[in-house]
Symmetry: C2
Subunit: 473 residues, 2 copies
């Protein structure tokens, strides 16, 4: 051990000298892979430098991947290969993340043929018009960027949503019955934290939106599944489950369901609130693509048939109206509102006012309605191009009547997880069905193909390549 090595080069900064000291020894094998390095304290005493200097050196080595940190234990020499992703200890929040991360990771894959993102191609959005609205807005409210919103959300926005939905969709809603959230994700989380206690059962569709499962699990719920079919739910099964499992709530996406695209009938929409009332089970109706229909407007939401106040309705405008603003709303009768507001207060004290006011401007404009109509046409075209490609195959699927995805079934013998690995080598991304159904009850031959993000030409080329790959599998 020598100060000499440490001070070899006087032009180096102190912490660089410490790095040098450590690197020489690691390379010489004085400490081997996975071996513990000296503590900050002991190395600082040994080398006669300040503890912060040693700390900075370790931080730098950590960033370079030379050393890693174990919680409460210290610095270790990194193995030659990076640590496995799953080697994260037994912290439940970390393992939850890895689980959730599946959809997140798949959706964030960079690919030339992008069928994994259930998002609208930004080229289809009226970005320039929004810029103009923003300019007008700041002229009208010069102090908007200095002002906080209330917890429940801007009153003008809540009033506008309530009266629009009452006039157009029979919601009979007052502004008190609306809570503004930052996207549907936050809406589900707020509801879960307000209503679900550890040990509660939560009824949920299969397949379903993966992050919703994580939210309820994080709250300590036990999930109970009910399958969704092209003809809708099995209400007898649901009644049986409500009777025997006594779920606290039923989380559902009954309109252009993600991933399947299924919408349930008016008849089922009427019966569900009656079951909910009879068995004291809340319905959480998540509605994120209500306006994206290809044939006709979908049936009215379940919420409008509920006369006992058991339905909490999430209307999200974040996916297809102004994605960057992240505006969604929870609508429910007022006896549930205080509990939701309490959680929203803890969560973030209210969504930013700027985002709410700009959304309101757009929501009240004729332009939004014109744009939604154009958007439907553009998305239908893309859906049809994708379907055209599928017609050449022996895959099966049900044509979606709305939404952003086709849910397809590959021929026997093809595993979509394996196919994704192959397709990513050709820069084609999609989501394997198991992400929406970790129980694997629907098998490993399902996949979700989003037609909303890629352009028509890309859909044609990418689908042709994907189909060729699948045929070879």
């Amino acid at each position: 051990m020598s100060r000499t090595v440490m001070m070899a080069d006087n032009s180096m900064k102190r912490y660089e000298q410490v790095i040098h000291y450590l690197m020489v020894r690691i390379e010489a094998g004085e400490w081997v892979e996975q071996e513990k390095l000296p503590s900050v304290r002991s190395l600082s005493e040994l080398l006669g430098v300040h503890r912060l200097t040693v700390f900075k050196a370790y931080q730098e080595l950590k960033q370079r991947g030379i050393v890693y940190v174990r919680d409460k234990s210290g610095y270790y020499v990194s193995p030659a290969k990076p640590l496995s992703d799953t080697d994260q200890g037994d912290d439940p929040s970390v393992s939850a993340w890895l689980h959730w991360d599946t959809l997140d990771r798949v959706q964030s894959l960079e690919a030339e043929y992008q069928f994994s993102k259930s998002l609208i191609d930004p080229a289809l959005l009226p970005n320039r018009y929004w810029g103009e609205l923003m300019r007008d807005l700041l002229d009208q409210y010069p102090r908007l960027l200095g002002t906080y919103s209330t917890i429940q959300g801007d009153l003008e926005l809540r009033t506008s949503l309530a009266s629009h939905l009452t006039a157009k969709e029979r919601f009979y809603l007052s502004s008190d019955e609306v809570l503004i959230t930052s996207g549907a994700q936050q809406a589900i989380d707020v509801i879960s934290r307000a209503l679900v206690k550890p040990g509660d059962r939560v009824l949920i569709e299969r397949p379903t939106y993966g992050p919703a499962m994580e939210i309820f699990r994080k709250q300590g719920a036990r999930l109970v599944f009910t399958d969704i079919h092209p003809e809708g739910y099995d209400l007898e099964q649901i009644e049986h489950l409500m009777k025997t499992e006594k779920p606290r709530l039923f989380y559902m996406t009954p309109t252009f369901q993600n991933p399947t695209g299924i919408s349930i009938s008016v008849e089922q929409r009427k019966q569900l609130p009656e079951l909910a009332e009879q068995y004291g089970c809340f319905l959480v109706e998540d509605d994120s693509t209500y306006d994206i229909y290809f044939k006709e407007k979908p049936p009215a939401p379940i919420f409008t048939y509920d006369t006992s106040g058991h339905t909490l309705y999430i209307r999200s405008y974040s996916k297809y109206v102004v994605p960057g603003l992240r505006i969604a709303a929870i609508m429910c009768r007022s006896h549930l509102m205080a509990g939701l507001q309490a959680i929203k207060a803890l969560t973030d004290n209210g969504s930013p006012l700027l985002n709410q006011k700009l959304f309101l401007r757009y929501f009240q404009s004729d332009r939004m309605h014109q744009h939604l109509s154009k958007l439907r046409t553009a998305l239908q075209l893309r859906m049809e191009v994708m379907e055209q490609c599928l017609l050449e195959t022996d895959w099966t699927w049900t044509r979606p009547e709305g939404g952003l995805n086709i849910w397809a079934d590959l021929p026997e013998g093809i595993d979509t997880g394996r196919l994704l690995h192959q397709s990513m080598e050709h820069s084609i991304a999609f989501v394997p069905g198991t992400v929406f159904d970790p129980s694997h009850a629907s098998g490993s031959r399902k996949l979700r193909l989003s037609f909303s993000y890629a352009r028509e030409q890309q859909i044609r080329e990418g689908m042709d390549r994907l189909i060729t790959l699948a045929a070879r599998s």
Copy 2:
């Protein structure tokens, strides 16, 4: 019972007729206060109208305050006086809200002399300049309003924050060690959900920011208090508590503490991370007014003295930089980041990109630094005006060296809760000290007076009136 009454006026809409039917009978005493009204189903059969019509009528009567709803039970006649605020049943989330609501309610009091809002007077903010930045931003990124952020936050913003804090404040931080949140409130909540399990102890200052207590309680934590004094913490007591209670984390606001304005010494800042390391207790350092100092820059944050990765640092720019954008950040070493990201994903899937990019523009401008300097001067003037008024009294207080509040102590015999009721009659709002200390350990003579929201003239007038009222009490 008669269809005749129901149909008395043919010009009325169906649901108005149902309302009329009910109103006549409530006024006649056919149903009395707190009595259950017929169910939607039975009334619809009785009157031969659709269930939704009856439902709409009840909704309307509910909004008028004529009837109210009991969960899962039905509609009841409202009592003549409104129900007490505390009569909310035993739902724990509701009672949590009522509790939290204390600060929220006090802060949202409308008053001519506004000393309850610990927020910056919007007249002190460069609103016009922000408007220009927004225009430039949308010119540069025309698709910004159609784009989602990543969960961890915009990389450009994280890189800028990390390199600024590393260059100016010795943070040795990389962009991977920063998570963007929507305000400090969300930062505390995310940390709490990632680190605290039900039954864990959480060490917390007394007095403290009320909503933080609610967040940890909602997560099932048991709170353990340590007092903060003008000379800082009692580190012996803290060490004793860390040893005996084994708290999971210590939530603290060591710089211009809210409400007291106290900042702890460099010596304590160095010792706390050592205690944290020794006893395996995380430090959650909440720093919401770091740049609002009146004499000299506050000492470097505790985070910069931590060489073992036990400190999670919350730097909020939401209170005084651009309040409407709600930008804050959690900074911590990378072994904690995966767990925080998991919760941020569940919470809202990432803060809106628009808000992050606009904040970044301002943060990188010279204008922000010029403005912060002016803001310090303006706030110091207001603080001095308030103090001038206090010099005429026998109240006690410690002059704050930064922050937005004076924490004062009334002479014996005056209860600040009672004083608030009196002062509100004169349109003067402040926050009684018990809001920051529900254990009442610091007595009922404390109050928090914010000097950041009212103008100098208002401070002078309002304080004179408040002092007169207190003297009469």
